[in-house]
Amino acid sequence: MSEKVLMKGNEAIAEAAIKAGCNFYFGYPITPQTEVAAYMAKRMPKIGGTFLQAESEIAAINMVIGVASTGKRVMTSSSSPGISLKSEGISYLAGCDLPALVVNVQRGGPGLGGIQPSQSDYFQATKGGGHGDYRNIVLAPSSVQEMAALTVKGFNLADKYRMVAMILADGTMGQMMEPVAIDDIEIETGEKPWALTGTECRRPRNIVNSLYLKPDVLEQKNFERFEKYKQIEENEALYESYMMDDADICIVSFGITARIAKNAIATARAKGIKAGLIRPITLWPFPKKPLLEAADKCRAFISVELSMGQLVEDVELATRCKKPVYLCNRTGGMIPSPDEVVAAIEKADKEAK
C-alpha cells in the first residue's frame, strides 16, 4: 500500500488515470473540473504523454476518438455543458465500439446553469445523452479514494467491453480534499487486434466505423452490442449496502449525497427508526437485484439526490413499484443538510405502513 497523500478529487482522477496507463488527455476548460486538466498539463510532458487543450469540447472528444481508434488508453474530462457538447462523440465511440474514459464533474443545469455541485446529468449519463441505441458504463464515486479507484476500474471495463466508461462525479467530489493512496495497479488492456496501427502491408486493413447503410446489418450490430450490455448488467453492477440488515426505510443515493445520508441514518437510528442505505457505485448497470430484495423487506425507499427525481425512476423500476419511493432532494447547486434527510426518513416512517 502506498502512502496516503492529501489530494483534490479531480487530481486523484488525473493521477489514477496516469497510473492506469493513460498517456493521452484532451480537454477544454470548464469549472468545476479544471484541476484534472491542470494536473495533466503538468504531469503528461514528464511521462512522455500528451496533454492537449482542444479548441472545443467537440474537438477534444474527437481527438479521444482518434487515439482510441489506435488502441491506446485515452480520456477527457468536463462538466455538464461540456458533456452535452461531447455527446455526439460519445455516440460515435459507442457506434465504433471504442474504449475511452469520460469524466463528468457535474454542475447545476440546464443551460449554462451554475458551477455548484449537481447530479442532474443522471439521465444524460445513464440513459444515453447522444443519439442511438447505446449504453455507457457509469461509475459514481463517493470519496476521493473512490475517484481514483473507479478511474482505474473505468479504464479496465472500457477496454474489456470496448465501450465508454464514464465517471459521474459532482463539483463536491471534484473539489474536496481527502487522503488518498494511489497504488501501482494492474493494467488490464487485453489484445486489440482491431486497432489502427498501419497495416505494414502484412495484414488486411482495419476500419473503425459506425456507418452501416444496410438496415439489417445495423440491426445486427445493435443486437450484438445489447448482448454485450446484457452481460455487463449481469456481471458488473456494484453497490454498497449500509445498515440494511434490519432496515425498514431504505435510502438510495450515490456520490456526495450518500455520505450525507449516512449521517442522517445515524440520527434516525438514534431516534428508533431503522434506516439503511443502498449506494449504487455503478449507475449503469444499475444494481437492480439488491433493490428488489430490499423491496420485500423495507416499507419505503427514499431517493436522496441533487436532481429533480431522476434517480427515483430507476428505483421504482428496480423495485417494480412494490413500495413507495420518496424524494429528498436539492438542485441547482444546493446540498441537503443531514436534518433535511432525517425529516424525510421520519416522514416516510410515519406514512409508509
Binding site: F24, F26, T50, L52, A54, E55, S56, I58, A59, A60, N62, M63, V64, I65, G66, V67, A68, S69, T70, K72, V74, E88, G89, Y92, C96, L196, T197, G198, T199, E200, C201, R202, R205, N206, I207, V208, N209, S210, L211
Partner: protein, 250 residues
C-alpha cells in the same frame, strides 16, 4: 514505356460516385502519392461525412470514419498517438468549410503534422444538392432555388486564402482536376502535401476544385467547363502558402 496500373493503395471496390464525378480522379491521385512514397503500410485515412464518407472502402489502408466536420480532430488524435504514422483526412466542402471550420482552423494553427485533401465542388452532394459554404454567388441549388443571394445567406468561403493567414499552416495549394494539365498539377500538389508529412514539415492542405455533374444539373463535360469558366475565376488556383519554399512568403 510505363504501364498504366491501378495504384496499390486503392482497393478493388467499385466506386459509388456518380458518372463524371471527379472524386475518382482525386482518390487515384492520393493513392498514387501513397504508392510513390511507399507509405501504404503506415498510412491511416480519416474519412469524413459527405460523398466521400465511404473512402474507407476505397483506400487500402487502416481507416477511421469521423463525424461531420471532425476529421482534423480525429486525425490529431491518431497522429499524436503515433507520430510515425502518415495520417490524412479526405473532406468535402460542407464538412471542412461549414460544420468543421473550427477543427480545420485549429489543426492548422497547431501545425498538426497531417495531410488534408479538401474537395471543393461547391455543393452538398451526398444529401442531394444543397447550398454549400462554397456555392458560388447566384448559383442555384436545392436550398438556394433562386440562386445564392449573398445579401441574405452570405458569401462563399475561400478556405486556402483564409488558412494562409494562420501562422501554423505549412503548405496550402488550390488545384483543379478539370483537364489533364490541371490533374498533373494536382498530383504534384498532393504528393508534396504527403511528402511534407513524411518530412515532419507540418500541416499541409490541398484544395481540389472538383465537379458535381449530378447536382449541378450538367453533363460531365459541361461540368468540367463550368470549373474553368466559373469556379476557377472565383477560386484562383495556385500555392497560397509554402513556408519551406524559398521563393514563398516566409
Amino acid at each position: 514505356m510505363a504501364e498504366f496500373h491501378k495504384p496499390k493503395a486503392l482497393t478493388d471496390a467499385p466506386l459509388h460516385y456518380c458518372p463524371g464525378c471527379t472524386h475518382g480522379i482525386i482518390h487515384r491521385l492520393v493513392a498514387e502519392a501513397i504508392d510513390e512514397l511507399g507509405i501504404q503500410g503506415k498510412s491511416i485515412c480519416v474519412a469524413s461525412v459527405g460523398c466521400s464518407v465511404m473512402a474507407y472502402d476505397y483506400f487500402d489502408v487502416d481507416c477511421v470514419q469521423a463525424a461531420h466536420g471532425r476529421a482534423p480532430a480525429v486525425a490529431t488524435g491518431v497522429k499524436r498517438s503515433d507520430p510515425s504514422k502518415i495520417v490524412f483526412t479526405y473532406q468535402g466542402d460542407g464538412d471542412l468549410a461549414s460544420i468543421g471550420t473550427a477543427e480545420i482552423v485549429h489543426a492548422a494553427a497547431r501545425r498538426e503534422n497531417i495531410t488534408v485533401i479538401f474537395v471543393n465542388n461547391a455543393i452538398y452532394g451526398m444529401t442531394g444538392g444543397q447550398m454549400a459554404p462554397t456555392t458560388l454567388p447566384g448559383m442555384v441549388t436545392q436550398t438556394s432555388p433562386y440562386g445564392r443571394d449573398v445579401t441574405k445567406v452570405g458569401f462563399p468561403m475561400k478556405m486556402v486564402e483564409m488558412l494562409s493567414q494562420v501562422d501554423g499552416a505549412a503548405y496550402l495549394e488550390r488545384v483543379a482536376v478539370n483537364n489533364v494539365a490541371n490533374v498533373r498539377k494536382a498530383k504534384k500538389a498532393i504528393l508534396h502535401a504527403f511528402t511534407n508529412q513524411v518530412e515532419n514539415k507540418g500541416f499541409s492542405l490541398v484544395e481540389v476544385i472538383s465537379s458535381c455533374p449530378t447536382n449541378w444539373g450538367k453533363s460531365p463535360a459541361k461540368a468540367l467547363e463550368f470549373i474553368q469558366t466559373d469556379m476557377i475565376p472565383y477560386y484562383p488556383l495556385g500555392v497560397y502558402k509554402d513556408i519551406y519554399d524559398e521563393g514563398g512568403n516566409q
